[in-house]
Amino acid sequence: MSALINIENRIRDQSGNINHPGIGIDAVHDTYMSYLRGEMSLDTAWSMVEIIKTVINTQALTGGEIKQLTQLAAEIVGDEELAQAYVDEEYLLTLKPMDKIDSERGVGDNEIAKHINKMPTTPKEYYASALEVGKRSDLTVEQKVRLLQAMYYALGEGNTERMCVARQM
């Protein structure tokens, strides 16, 4: 948070206008406090990261500030590689978090995956979406399989009739 405050102060100072809107730091304050208290979900954490990304996209930042914010994003999502990929505008799908999807099968991990591809709610949706995932040229084979697994687990027990999905990498 201090990184965001410092950046906002610098932008305001440089503008010479005390009423400069800065980077909207007030809007993220409450969310950030929830984060510190451990009250927020991974989904909310991602909204924080999206705000950080928006700030970076203003192109008003120095290289050092971008690095600071990337570190903050990494702290929030608990994964430096993932945060860097996001900041670099690469897809969020990295092996590290996707490994968690396979090994832990947690809802939280699917929260990560849903930022890469919409999670299906029925087998029919799964099959339609799975073919699109299979055709994507921006993902590796491993990433596609991880994503299919996340989509499968998102359906939940009792909702996977006749479905076969590769078990692991």
Binding site: V141, K144, A166, R167
Partner: protein
């Protein structure tokens, strides 16, 4: 990469299946009239458009994917179970298809209370049958009679010296798909 080696143009995963149609080579036996018939109870994981299945062990518990050497997440909702005719009917059906005898096949179907099939459908059966024979002979060798399909033990799935799936289940691999054999009255789902 362990199980999936790529995706085709339609977006379907391409599995890196083991050799010999997934059998332990030394375990393969030809299914033969009067010697080795289809199992009374069968179980398949996945689409009915495939042509392999296992029998169901006497204790009634189906084999796991690990035993079947199927590289999919264990999902009981993906399993089909059914029964097979235990007489000579299966062999008669295959003989008719192998010899391109549409009239003979339709007589068999008629005698068993099933509808006749068209010559177009017969062509599809013949095409599927011939493709299996060619593929099976290439994979397990021409010394094994593949005419009615094969029985054996599922081979372990080994990658770079590591056993990823143990195998060990029984495996039946037939010239036609499960769905086709259901439509021909050989199998019931």
């Amino acid at each position: 990469m362990r199980f999936v080696k790529g995706f085709d143009k339609k977006g379907v995963p391409i599995y890196d299946w083991p050799k010999y149609l997934g059998f332990v080579l030394s375990s393969i036996k030809p299914i033969m009239r009067g010697k080795l018939n289809l199992p009374r109870l069968w179980s398949r994981v996945g689409s009915l458009h495939g042509n392999s299945f296992s029998d169901i062990p006497e204790d009634g518990a189906s084999y796991t994917n690990n035993q079947r050497a199927i590289p999919d997440i264990e999902n009981p909702e993906a399993e089909h179970q059914g029964t097979s005719r235990q007489d000579e009917y299966y062999f008669d059906v295959i003989d008719a298809i192998a010899s391109r005898d549409l009239d003979g096949l339709n007589k068999l179907l008629n005698m068993n209370g099933l509808e006749r099939i068209s010559d177009v459908k017969m062509d599809l059966l013949i095409e599927k049958y011939n493709r299996f024979i060619k593929d099976a002979e290439e994979r397990v060798g021409k010394d094994i009679n593949v005419k009615y399909g094969l029985f054996g033990i599922a081979a372990p799935w080994v990658k770079d010296g590591e056993i990823l799936l143990t195998g060990g289940a029984t495996q039946y691999t037939l010239p036609l798909s499960i769905q086709q054999l259901i439509e021909l009255g050989v199998l019931k789902n």
